[in-house]
Amino acid sequence: MALLSLKDVTKNFGITEIIRGVSLDIVEGEKHAIIGPNGAGKSTLFHLISGRYNVSAGSIHFKEQQIENKPPYEIARMGLARSFQVTNIFQRMSVFENIRCALFWSKGYGYSFWHLLGRQTELNDEAMHVLEQIGLADKAKFPSGELAYAEQRALELGVAVASGAELIMLDEPVAGMSHSEAENAVELIRKITEGKTLIMVEHDMNIVFDVADRISVLVYGEIIATDKPKNIRANPKVQEAYLGEAHNA
C-alpha cells in the first residue's frame, strides 16, 4: 500500500503550467529520489505535497487521507515533515530551541501556555538527543543564525526529522556543501531516516544513486520514468532528457 499517492496532480501559475499531470506512489519505507533539470518543477512538487501551494487539479493522499489543499500545519501533524532548499530555521532562537519547537506538536503540547518548559524533562532530553544525532549538542545554546553553513543545514535536517514523522521530504539537503561536508551530510541523512520513508530532491547524482531505492525523473512538469537506479541509468528517455545533459555539463 502506498504511503503517499499523487494522482494527476497539476499546478498552474497563471497560464504557465509547472506541474503537468504527475502521478506517483511512494511505498512505505522506501528512499525515493526525484531528479530532473533545473526548472522541471521539483521544488513545486514538494510544495504541493507539503501544503505550501494548492494544487490546480488532481489529488494527493497521505496514509489514505486526502491532503491536497490542506494547510501545511495539518499535513505536518499527520506525520509528513520536510526541509527546505534554502535554510529555513528560526534564526534568532538557539539551536536547542529550534529543535525543541519542532518537537512540541508531536509531544502533545499544542498551543499550551500552562506547561513550563523547564520542567518538561522528557521533552528536553529528547531535544538533546536529536542534537546529539545531528552533531550539534555542543552548540545547543548557540544562536542558530550564527552557525556555519553546514551546521545550519544539519539543523535544518534536525528540525525536519525531530518530530519523528514517518515521511520525510528533503529538498536538496547537500546543496552548496563541500565534498567532505556532503559526505557527512549523507551519512547523517542515512542515520536519521533509518526505518522511515524518504523523498529527496537532489542534483548530485552520486548521492542520488547511492541513497535512493527508486528514482523518479521529472522533466518539464512530467514524470518520464520511475524505476530502480540501475534501470534509470539505462533508460534511453532519461539519458536523452536529463542524464546525458548533466554528464556533458
Partner: protein
C-alpha cells in the same frame, strides 16, 4: 530549597525593589513617579509580547490599555453607587478581562498576517476606537473622559486607598504579578512558538503550528496585560480620557519598549523606567523634553538597535572574561567629552528657544542675545566633538581587546 531560592533571587530582588523604593523616595512627586513607573512597566512589557517576542508591530496598543482603563473607572463607579460591592484591589483584573475580550475580538481578524498588514490594521483600529470614544460619550464621557473615586469600596485591613502611597503598593503588587506571569508565558510552548513565528512564520507551519493561531494567543495575552495596566492607571488617577487610548499613547509605549530593548525581557522595564523619569523630571526643567526624547529615540535606533538592555548585554563577554576594567578608562576618556558635547548641544537648543534675556544653565548665566555666548559654546562643542572622535579609536581597540578570544582558547 536553596536552588529554588537562587533561581528566584532576581524576582525576590525585583519585589524588594518595588516595595522598598517608596521608603527611599517618599516625596509626593516620587510616589507619583513610582506609580507611573509601575503602570508603564506592565504596559511596556505587554507591548513587547507583541513586537519583541511575537514580531507584531502595533501602532494601536493603547486601545487595550484604554479600554481596560475605561471599564475599570466604570467599575469604580459601580462600587461608588453600591450597584456592586467588592474591593478595588480587583479592579486591575477587570481591566485585564476587558483587555482580553478586546484582544480576542480584534485579534480574530488582525493576526491573520504579521508585518505591514498587521501594523496598518492596528493603526486603523487605534484611530477607530479613539474616534469612537469621542462619539459614544455615555461610555467614554466625550473629551472630558470619565472619573471615579477609589475610596468607596470595602477597606482592606483598614486602608481606604485615599493616599497615593497606598495605591502604589497595590500597583506594585499587581505589577509584580503581571511581570511574573508575562515572564512565565515566555517559558511555555505558546511563548516559544511566538518567537518561532516571529523568526519564520512559514517554517512554523511545517512543524505543525498555524502561525496565525500562535499570533492570536500572544495578541490576546498582550491585550489582557495592557488592560491590567489600564486598570492600574484608573486606580491611580481615578479618571481616564480619550488621550489614554489614542495614537500618542500607543506611540509612547512603542518608544518605551524600543529604547529599553525589544530582544530582552528586561528591556521594556528599563525603557518604562527611563521614559517615566524623563517624562516627569525633565518636563520640570524644559519645555523641550519631547524633543530630547525624540533625539534619544533616533540615537537609540541608529546606534543601539538592541536598546539599553542590548547595550548592557553587549558587555557580557567582557564581564565573563574579567576584562571589564580594561573598558573603564576608555569609557571615561570618551564619555566625558561626549557628555560635554551633549550639554553644549542642549545649551544651544535651549538658547534658541528661550525668550528671556538671561538663560540660567548649570550654574552659568548665558546671554542668548550675545554672539560671544554662541561662539564660546560652539567652540566648546567643537572641541568636545573632536575629542570624542580622537578617543573613539582607543575605545574601539580596548573593546576588541576586552572581547578577544584568549590565546589558550584559540587552539
Amino acid at each position: 530549597m536553596m536552588a529554588l531560592l537562587k533561581k528566584s533571587s532576581i524576582w525576590i530582588a525585583f519585589l524588594i525593589a518595588l516595595l522598598g523604593l517608596p521608603l527611599l523616595f517618599d516625596s509626593i512627586l516620587a510616589i507619583s513617579i513610582l506609580n507611573q513607573m509601575a503602570i508603564a512597566i506592565v504596559f511596556a512589557l505587554s507591548y513587547n509580547m507583541l513586537l519583541g517576542q511575537g514580531g507584531m508591530l502595533s501602532f494601536g496598543h493603547a486601545v487595550y490599555f484604554g479600554l481596560g482603563g475605561f471599564l475599570s473607572v466604570h467599575a469604580l463607579m459601580l462600587i461608588e453607587y453600591e450597584t456592586m460591592v467588592f474591593s478595588i484591589l480587583w479592579i486591575p483584573l477587570i481591566g485585564g478581562l476587558f483587555g482580553l475580550l478586546a484582544g480576542i475580538f480584534i485579534g480574530s481578524f488582525s493576526t491573520r498576517k504579521a508585518g505591514t498588514v498587521f501594523a496598518m490594521i492596528s493603526l486603523g483600529i487605534g484611530e477607530l476606537i479613539a474616534a469612537s470614544s469621542l462619539i459614544f460619550s455615555s461610555f467614554f464621557g466625550g473629551e472630558a473622559g470619565i472619573s471615579g473615586d477609589r475610596t468607596f469600596g470595602p477597606t482592606f485591613f483598614g486602608f481606604d486607598f485615599a493616599q497615593n502611597i497606598e495605591i502604589y503598593y497595590v500597583a506594585a503588587v499587581w505589577a509584580f504579578i503581571a511581570t511574573l506571569f508575562m515572564w512565565l508565558f515566555t517559558q511555555t510552548p505558546a511563548g516559544r512558538m511566538a518567537n518561532a513565528v516571529r523568526d519564520n512564520p512559514e517554517r512554523a507551519e511545517f512543524i505543525g503550528y498555524s502561525s496565525r493561531k500562535v499570533r492570536f494567543i500572544s495578541f490576546c495575552a498582550s491585550g489582557m496585560f495592557a488592560g491590567i495596566a489600564g486598570g492600574l492607571f484608573a486606580l491611580n488617577y481615578e479618571f481616564i480620557t480619550e488621550e489614554n487610548l489614542n495614537a500618542a499613547t500607543s506611540g509612547r509605549v512603542l518608544l518605551m519598549a524600543y529604547i529599553g530593548g525589544l530582544g530582552y525581557f528586561i528591556g521594556p522595564i528599563i525603557g518604562a523606567v527611563v521614559l517615566t523619569l524623563m517624562n516627569s523630571l525633565l518636563s520640570n526643567y524644559s519645555e523641550l523634553w519631547m524633543l530630547y526624547l525624540g533625539i534619544m529615540f533616533l540615537l537609540t535606533v541608529m546606534f543601539l538597535p538592541r536598546g539599553f538592555a542590548g547595550f548592557i548585554m553587549m558587555h557580557q563577554l567582557a564581564w565573563v572574561r574579567g576584562n571589564m576594567k580594561m573598558l573603564i578608562k576608555p569609557y571615561i576618556i570618551t564619555g566625558i567629552p561626549a557628555l560635554l558635547f551633549a550639554l553644549c548641544a542642549i545649551a544651544l537648543i535651549e538658547m534658541s528657544h528661550t525668550e528671556d534675556e538671561v538663560f540660567h544653565y548649570l550654574g552659568f548665566a548665558l546671554n542668548p542675545a550675545s554672539p560671544v555666548t554662541w561662539i564660546v559654546i560652539l567652540a566648546i562643542a567643537g572641541g568636545a566633538f573632536y575629542a570624542v572622535k580622537r578617543s573613539f579609536n582607543q575605545l574601539n581597540d580596548a573593546w576588541e581587546t576586552a572581547n578577544a578570544i584568549p590565546k589558550e582558547e584559540e587552539s
